[in-house]
Amino acid sequence: MRAPVRRFSWFSLVREARRFGTGSEPARRPVAPADRYDVVILGGGAAALALAYHLRRLYDPPRVGLLSAGPLEGAPGAINAVLRTDRREPAAIALYAEARRRYEGLSRTLDFNLGLTPRGLLVLAHSELELDRLAYVAAVAAEAGAASWMVPPREARSLLPRLAPDLALPGPLAGALWQPGAALVDGEAVMWGFARMAAALGADIVEGCPATGLRLAGDRVAGVETTKGRVAAETVVVTDAAAVPLLAAAGVAVPLEPRVRHVFTMAPGPPVLDVTVESSLLGGLASRSRRGGMLLAVDAAPGRAAWSAASEAATRLTTLLPASSRLSLAAGASATTLATPDGAPILGPLGPEGLWACLGWDDGEVAAAPSIGTALAAAIGQGGLDAALQPFAAERFVTGALLDERPVREPA
């Protein structure tokens, strides 16, 4: 393992500021891809960067190259990624709960402030059906060791005092799922933090290098073609949904479908909520950002522009939280993810030998990144998935053993 990057300290930061940053160290240098790597990771998301970091940390010899099609940037809304464990599959809960534990010390380990802000998550139930479904999730999560339980309407109101008092008119508040351990994290900082340490440990982080083809030798992966030349590799990990056409060209079918979310950012204003709140009346999730603004992420039908849905989103938000009518909408953007039909990611080997996938996240990539990075690095080192990741293998779309992670809400 190479000597780690010089760590930030108050002394070094002030010294750097005094000498106008002339001694600052690149977090990652702009590099061209090498001709050959042991492991090539296609894509520059949080999970990919965590994998690059853990591969270098756990296995000294492998040369790791991460090829990101564009610059390392989070999707709209990534700045307020929610670390939550309310899932239906115990295997998924274990993954997310483990990641949540790892996040606790991760800012220190990566020497980068990831903006971890513990704020609980309150999922409101407005109908008998939602009450049943949330109770199911709460029971499954509690069994898997994640702190979450159902709270009656009165307690939900005390956690969310700004909730409209006359909510009984548009839709009753039947109860809520409360996750005190949920937190917000800056998804972009997570990417940059992992990238910085991965680069310091000797991984090549190449930005602006889209892959154009997958090279096979018989039934083995031989490398990838990129816009910056041919890269040979024995192991290729596809984490970028944009690379799925390359898989198809190599004869590997991956079922992915687009999911769209509109993300609206409110300008900083009077406090409306402290906890993160999700509600079907809202059609999504509202969270408070570190700088005092608010982020509203709502499900959307594909093909609809964010601004055309702004009025509807504002109407619902102000109905649910009347105090939010004093806020102003500063920005609106759409984020499209390519997710699997069952809502759980595809992890593990894929078709030709040496080809791996870490694909198809609906919304949990940042929340799972630390545990996925370790687990997948270990799996690649051992050449196979362990029992914890086995349910996520791609074969489930052939055998029919799909996971029960499908989102509940249909986008309006």
Partner: protein, 841 residues
Amino acid sequence: MSRGPLRRLLPPGAEFKIGRRPPRLLPALDLLLRRLGVIARRPEIRDAGPLLRTEQVERVVDVLVVGGGAAGIAAAEAAAAAGRPVLLAERAARLGGVADGYDGFVDGMPVTAWLDGRIAGLRGRDGVTILTGAAVTVLGADGAAFILDSSRLWRVAAKAVVLATGAAEKPLVFPGNDRAGVMLAAAARLGLRCRGVRPGRRVVIATTGDEGYRAALDLAAAGVAVERIVDLRLDPESATAYVVRSHGIRMAFGSAPVAVLGSGRLSAVVVANRFTVDGVALRHTIPCDALLVSGGFSPELRLAAQAGAALAFDAGLGAFTVIERPDWLFVGGAAGGRGNLSAALDDGWHAGAAAASSLGAAPPPAPVHTISVVADPAAEAVPLLPDPATPAEEAQATVDLANGVRVRDVAVALHEGFRSPRQLARYVRLGRGGADAATATLAAAAVVRLGGAPGVPDGWAETALVPIPLAALARAGSGIPPAPARAFPRPGEEVETAIRREVAATRATAGLFDLSTCGRIAVGGPDAQAFLDRVLATDLGVLTAGSAAPAVALDPFGFVHFAGDLAAFSPMRFVLNTAPEMRLRCQRWFTRWAAEWHDLDVSIADETSLWSAAWIGGAAAPSLLRDIADDAGSRPASGLLWRGHVGGAVAWAVPHAATGEPAVEIVIATAGMSALWRRLAGRVADAGGAIVGTGAWERLHLEAGVPDPVRDGGGVTTAADLGLGTLVAADKGDFVGRDALARPALAAAGRPRLVGLLLDGSDAPSPGTLLLAEPAGEVVGRVTRSGHSPTARRPIALGLVADGPNRAGDRVAFRRAGEWRWAAIVMPQRLGLSGSRRAVT
């Protein structure tokens, strides 16, 4: 963190470099610091706060012109002359743009007087609406604009949009450029002309174009001493420069400001030659109390970026330009790089004419004007000053004045590997919040100079120019469709008690439930039957007109996607009735396959809102329904009890016996629902029945053990798992999901299947509770739904249990409140209705 004395001590990206280890304070100390106000207190929120709503105006126009300067006025005139309704929105309180800043004549009249005449003419035209003090804050990719005036939000849908948004003057970037006393030349000049405000008494002007010379002439005329014009160009060729020279104002060519002196107020500017390396020798200190700067103009294109136009930074022009635009978007005047009056008038007219002709109106010929206003040549694009800057100088030169970003911050961020516009915006706040045209242009120039690739600033496409108050954005009403109540508790009654009372009343006499939110998806057309045969797994062979039958649709993985009752009205028209939560799913599914199979001629329509329905069930229900219809001679058909009218509205009734009671669903055109409801509610109340909410409705179904694809299994249960195997006709021919039925996991023995659970004790286990073969033993399944059954007088549940139906009679263990309890497995059908109270143990 962007300002203040601390900022000098902090590096770029401080947000990420500091606070990696959250400080842990002793709780007592923390409390003390919060009390003292050293740490901000968490705001105490007690009540919901008021709901504000302000007025909203919706308009549809042919042409929206953004900007009321010379170009915008010309564009509005052109579109109006072509006979198109026009809306012109100007951000400032009055039209005319920067015309006040220019002397000269048009058609023999002073510029402003001439323009006032045009404005008056435009106001008098039919079909022209002019909004002043109205900022276009968002221009969507579909031509929809959000305009904020002083009190209202205008939502304007335009078929064509002309952007005549003008240009912003760029400041110069040099050490100390954020000091008080440094101001933009055009702003100072317009302030002097319109409001008589002098920028100072002794002024130095630094410029890269003619705007600085215009400022010098205006200031000299107002009696301000212009100490020096510092022109960054080596050899300016322009008419205005010669005029200024004739006034005897001193000039320095090829020079630039490199520092400003003075504590508090500005006292002097240090100027040096740009083109020599040993610049120190050629430094001059010029005493002054104001420094006017002009770095040329940058087109205001944020709305173009929002609308989906592709922009690129042109280093030669030192500005962003449009390289590709949507076909409904037109750019004219200074926004398109044509800022001089004659060019702006001409370009504006052409943009307006092009917008009108894109809508099929013949463009009128452009009017010819005699314009005698001195035209300014384009200013030179000068990125950063001084040209060979040291790190210390870069640390004092601000490139983004709004966010307080210094050149050095950008250099360090680029060095540290943060190179894209978004990365820079997050790491050093460069161009944060969709910075204005001038700032963004400077930032891009700085990035070019420092060796990065400039891009369109982060947020231009997404950020509203002015934040829109949600009070204005939200529409009237709640935006949330009314949901039926869970229960109708009597005063003082708990919800759960009310649910049990309603269930009991239904079983004893009658219950009335509003089924209007149920989805009703109509499938019509000559191939409707063939379409349904392929999209549904159920064999429809026997479904004749006037009858109804249960049906399921599978997803491509063989799991139940939705279920419902399919009613056939004719071979050309079917309606699938489904639970509210499956309405959207069903409608999307049908629409998707109708689009995919274009060989089939079908139409899909969501008729949910056209129809309302009331369900009335219980032993007394049939007698309560006697003579409910207007027409005694209603025609019964197979499956339908009758078809006719109630209160004059079309209605029909179908048997709906899933809850295990005699029950009827009356479907009626929505207009007639309130009359029907009143009539039924009166009869039910008289008979001692109850109006039931969703809670009792679900409980009645739980008692009857009716499987539910949404509640029982969440999308990974097969029809066989739910006991609906008979609805899947695998041998009927191809249908969606058929191939998947043979997959190993679906055909495997031991799949979790739906069973009923009879429980002892007083309360039911929550959905999701694990079921074990014995305490702490092997896991065999989970509870999916549960509740207290008033009919069986015990808690009951449905659950998915491995190989469940074959375990009927076995018992399983579960944990409740820390104790192990037992449940008896029974077949789900009529789970709570069997009447016998068997002991579980």
